[in-house]
Amino acid sequence: MKILIVEDERKVAQFVERALAEQSYTPRVAGSCAAARDALAESPYDAVVLDIGLPDGDGLQLLKEWRASGFNEPVLILSARDAVTDRIHGLNLGADDYLAKPFSIDELLARVRSLLRRKAGNKTTVLEHRGIRMDLLARVVTYQGAAVELTSREFALLELFLQNAGRVLTRTLIAERVWEASYDMETNLIDVYVRKLRQKFPSVEGAEPLFKTVRGTGYQLA
């Protein structure tokens, strides 16, 4: 999987490049609009991580050009700018996802994975993990064989955990996917909901707890 990273901050680009390489992707960095155009003209890429503020132009303009010329691979926008308006603008121009700086590398990886998976058209209707079974079509959840009643928010949160089992989910990602909020919610709403999930899915004695807190970042379904 070849991924193009368009980012002018050399150090940030290096971090992203290294992290993607560690996950066995094949990343390449372009530091400007011109370099990005060249790279994309030279060889095909499976996905693009695109920074908006570039020294020789606007990343959104670049995205517009690409979409107009028929480039259909997933694009993840990386931006230090205003989260609310830029996000809407970017998604309108054909970006597939949007991540605001400062971001967690785990979050970037999760999003890239999810973009590539969506591209592959991986459509599962039943999610299972350590005794939890979620039927997405029937919207039924069982734990150790017994049915569990969930509110719609709890269901959405659990689905997010199950789809990213074993990975760290940041608060930003959770807020975005479950609450459709592109801002920080200023409350401990996420913690309260995770606590409710913990009550409904108690860990089997002696085993590792299901929902782990990752301090300073978010949560993880172990």
Binding site: E9, K11, V12, F15, G53, A80, R81, D82, A83, V84, T85, I88, A100, K101, P102, F103, S104, I105, D106, T151, S152, R153, R171, W179, E180, A181, S182, Y183, D184, M185, E186, T187, N188, L189, V192, Y193, R195, K196, R215, G216, T217
Partner: protein, 456 residues
């Protein structure tokens, strides 16, 4: 609908036209009177010449003989005039019969041939002319009555004309003011269209340089400056975001990298986690400050759309109940009016969540926090009421300012606020063309009531 200025202009125009008409008609009346008197005097002169002819042809003729001669000479005209002849010494040589007892005034004091207005007893107002030749003084007078009659008729017609002009000029004045104000309306329409989302547009300036072109240019210059300062705020917030968040991103990435390396050292890991939490907190402050800066400068544009308020509140209320339950406080949606409102759902949810979270934080255990969603005549009110301690009156105004915090009454186990939550609430309310205010409860209980009043 006629604007007040259009109306003023119309009335002024009408007044101007009417006054001008009155002046013209008055002048016309004076000229007419003068002309009629002049022609009367001209007739007197012709008659006098004929009388002098008789006197010259028959010097020394007196009494009835003279009268007979004169009557013959003047013929039927004689009846129209009052005639009296006397000599230098004042002896009367002739008096026309129609004078009766009336005596012509003595005009010998006057230099030469003169005309005066006089009052003859038994006859009334006359125009009197005296002509002299040798020793003879010939006085001829005619009644002023016909002149007065014509002038009276003239005045009547004039009054009608003035009235008609006044009415007609109101209509003309309306057309005139509409026509005159057309360029001003064009300026107004353009100026209305120019807002934060199309600051590029300018008022068209006509090639002719006149006062209105100057005004349009002045306004355009103002729009230039406005556009400039909006652009500046936008550029500043973009630059600030970039310059602040890029280093923050690097710190975060480095810290995360270190965490995996330090996995065996719990103390170091705890330190790093603190660091990560502080980075998140700092990022939140930057985001909030930039949001407020943009909102206050008018550089932030919302895409407001009509939304069903009940549908918007339903999931929010679910979250609020969950939060309240966690705090051991009750939450109730006390009023839930149906209807729709122009709003940005994510921002309105954030506003309400901030307010409810604040209310929950100050509530005592078991306390009640209520939300009322009330449709009003001109908009919508969202009212959040708590049972906390309330606030001193002096602080009520201040809590919506940046970095102002009031100490929560209970508990320590909540996320640390950064003192921008309520400032953001105010920005969001203002972005929705509304306002926010806090007041202490007036129903005898302690607690705060925060009202978000949005206009439709």
């Amino acid at each position: 609908m006629i604007g007040p200025y259009t109306r003023r202009l119309m009335v002024r125009f009408s007044a101007l036209v009417t006054v001008t008409t009155v002046i013209v008609l008055l002048a016309g009346g004076l000229l007419l009177e003068r002309e009629m008197l002049r022609s009367m005097e001209g007739m007197h002169e012709v008659e006098a010449d004929e009388v002098f002819e008789v006197l010259r042809d028959h010097p020394g003729l007196k009494g009835d003989d003279l009268a007979g001669r004169i009557d013959t000479k003047l013929g039927s005209d004689a009846a129209l005039y009052f005639i009296q002849i006397h000599d230098d010494r004042g002896a009367i040589l002739y008096r026309s019969e129609n004078l009766g007892d009336a005596v012509m005034p003595d005009l010998s004091r006057m230099e030469e041939n003169e005309h005066v207005l006089a009052e003859l007893p038994g006859v009334g107002g006359v125009r009197l002319s005296e002509f002299r030749e040798g020793e003879w003084h010939v006085q001829i007078a005619s009644r002023l009555k016909p002149v007065h009659r014509i002038l009276t008729n003239y005045a009547k017609v004039s009054a009608l004309l003035v009235l008609g002009t006044a009415v007609a000029s109101l209509g003309l004045g309306y057309a005139f003011s509409r026509f005159t104000l057309r360029p001003v309306r064009a300026i107004e329409l353009t100026a209305r269209r120019i807002s934060a989302d199309n600051l590029r547009e300018r008022i068209p300036v006509l090639a002719v340089r006149d006062e209105l072109a100057d005004l349009a240019m002045l306004l355009n210059q103002m729009f230039d400056r406005l556009e400039g300062s909006f652009e500046q705020v936008k550029r500043f917030t973009a630059d600030a975001s970039h310059e602040l968040k890029t280093p923050l991103a690097l710190i975060r990435l480095n810290a995360e990298r270190l965490r995996t390396r330090l996995a065996g050292d719990p103390e170091a890991v705890a330190g790093l986690e603190d660091l990560l939490e502080e980075i998140t907190r700092m990022n939140r402050i930057i985001e909030s400050l930039l949001f407020i800066a943009k909102a206050e400068s008018g550089a932030l544009l919302l895409d407001l759309k009509e939304h069903d308020v009940r549908a918007l509140l339903a999931p929010f209320v679910e979250d609020a109940r969950v939060l309240a339950e966690d705090r051991g406080v009750r939450f109730e949606l006390a009023r839930d009016d149906a209807g729709s409102l122009r709003l940005e759902p994510a921002l309105l949810r954030q506003l309400l969540l901030n307010l409810v979270a604040n209310a929950l934080n100050v509530s005592p255990a078991g306390g009640l926090v209520t939300l009322e969603s009330v449709q009003t005549e001109h908009g919508w009110w969202f009212i959040v009421t708590d049972e906390g301690p309330g606030l001193p009156a002096a602080q009520l105004e201040k809590i919506f300012e940046r970095f102002v915090r009031f100490e929560p009454a209970t508990g320590e186990n909540r996320a640390r606020g950064h003192g921008l939550g309520l400032a953001i609430c105010r920005s969001i309310a203002e972005l929705h063309d509304g306002e926010i205010r806090a007041e202490n409860r007036t129903d005898g209980r302690s607690g705060l009531r925060v009202v978000v009043a949005l206009r439709r």
